[in-house]
Symmetry: C2
Subunit: 268 residues, 2 copies
């Protein structure tokens, strides 16, 4: 099966995304391993980028990975097959209307999902209900307010703020990483442990400057150009200057910082 | 000798500052140890808070700790004596007019110094010159732009910006942590390695919420109230609201994040 199926941008793009996912996979997933026989629900698997990293690290656990989008499930299926993984069942399903009985799963995992939801607390509560007591829920989110850089630039900060505002406008929260601890407690989950995973990039790490600063973060912000301008958040000239300043932080004398938050909590 | 000499705010205050210094000492200094016989210059030792942590970790290295303030040197002398350390010589001296021959020291260390200097690059160059080839320079700095928190608050961000503006107004840079890498390279030092040291505080760490969020960071920002208002940067009401919002982040559902940067570079 051609791996171009996964993202559909041709072999070089797929190669880039794989490399990029691998870079962050170590930082985000290295300490997540489930025991043999564990029943794990991955909620909001999208196109399966995290699914592959997760399932490969726990080859004897059984994963059920769900997403509300049938198209994403198809892409995730292709990614799982391309990776040669046989311990993942993919299923179209809605976090807010889970087709599972209470206490079905030993463990729950979700990454980069809550940031998109207008009711993250309700999602966590629903996931808590399908967990067995004693099981853990692992949540990974970013936080765009954790981005800072050298050279500093008010324009660059402003284009990031545009992305944050647009995500908030569609009900999400691009600053959710910092509040995983109270969110998990509010959902009735016990003993949350939050560990920040900071990405620090200077010119001693040229691959990270390219893969993370330029092609992950700056590219993600750049992608909201039309929406930000249409929404009247910023002028085209200011947006373009902010994006140029963001890319500038990947130069030989630049520095870029960003932090992901990983939280693990327990169902009583 | 009474330890109240060190900061002069009475035994409970001294105890608090000691506890606080100990909390950060592990995070900042645990990986710095100099070999027996090494000649180490600590530049800008202030009242000796870092000196004690540093010298205790390298009992067989010889420290020369300098500061431009005679009063600080006297306090540092008291701190060193109170800690029972015998491997530190304290000396009043100016970084920009060092009373040492070139290639005098095996190692150089400085923490929370460059942030106060209008010419940090010149300071690094001067320090480089008194180092022996092959020696390392270790630099620790904070970065107030790395502070973010839950609940988020535009007022709290504004009072931090006041501190940053006041420090910039007196020639310093409270955002210097992020740019240690290019600074060290610009000073002609080789192979800088920068490691961020992030402090993440939620209610699972009540001692840190008290010692770091409230009594280190919020108290530091609160201390610029008069200057910020006098400088017309903010109204008294807005300042007080920002400070209240900062303290608020140490509550049971609050989160506070801050990052220190530690850099080590080599003299060729």
């Amino acid at each position: 099966m051609s791996s171009a199926y996964v993202h559909g941008y041709g072999p070089s793009e797929v190669e880039r995304l794989r490399t990029q996912a691998a870079t962050l996979a170590e930082l985000l997933h290295a300490d997540t391993a489930y025991p043999a026989g564990a029943l794990v629900l991955e909620a909001g698997c999208g196109v399966g980028a995290q699914t592959v990293a997760l399932a490969a690290r726990s080859p004897h656990a059984h994963f059920t990975s769900i997403d509300q989008s049938a198209a994403s499930i198809a892409q995730a299926q292709a990614a799982v097959a391309a990776a040669g993984l046989t311990n993942v069942v993919l299923q179209q399903a809605d976090i807010f209307n889970l087709p599972f009985a209470q206490r079905s799963f030993d463990q729950v995992f979700l990454s980069f999902v809550l940031e998109h939801l207008s009711r993250p607390l309700d999602a966590l509560t629903a996931l808590r209900d399908i967990m067995k007591p004693g099981g853990t829920i692992t949540v990974i989110e970013g936080d765009h307010g954790s981005a800072y850089f050298h050279p500093d630039s008010a324009y660059a900060r402003r284009v990031i703020d545009c992305q944050v505002a647009l995500q908030a406008g569609s009900g999400g929260d691009a600053l959710i990483g910092r509040r995983l601890y109270p969110l998990l407690l509010d959902a009735g989950l016990a003993a949350p442990t939050v560990s920040p995973r900071m990405v620090y990039v200077d010119a001693s790490k040229p691959a990270m400057a390219d893969r993370f600063t330029r092609r992950t973060f700056a590219a993600m912000i750049e992608a909201v150009r039309a929406q930000a301008i249409d929404a009247g958040l910023i002028s085209p000239a200011d947006f373009d200057r902010g994006i140029a300043d963001l890319y500038r932080t990947a130069a030989a004398d630049g520095v870029f910082c960003y932090t992901f938050f990983k939280a693990v909590a327990v169902k009583r």
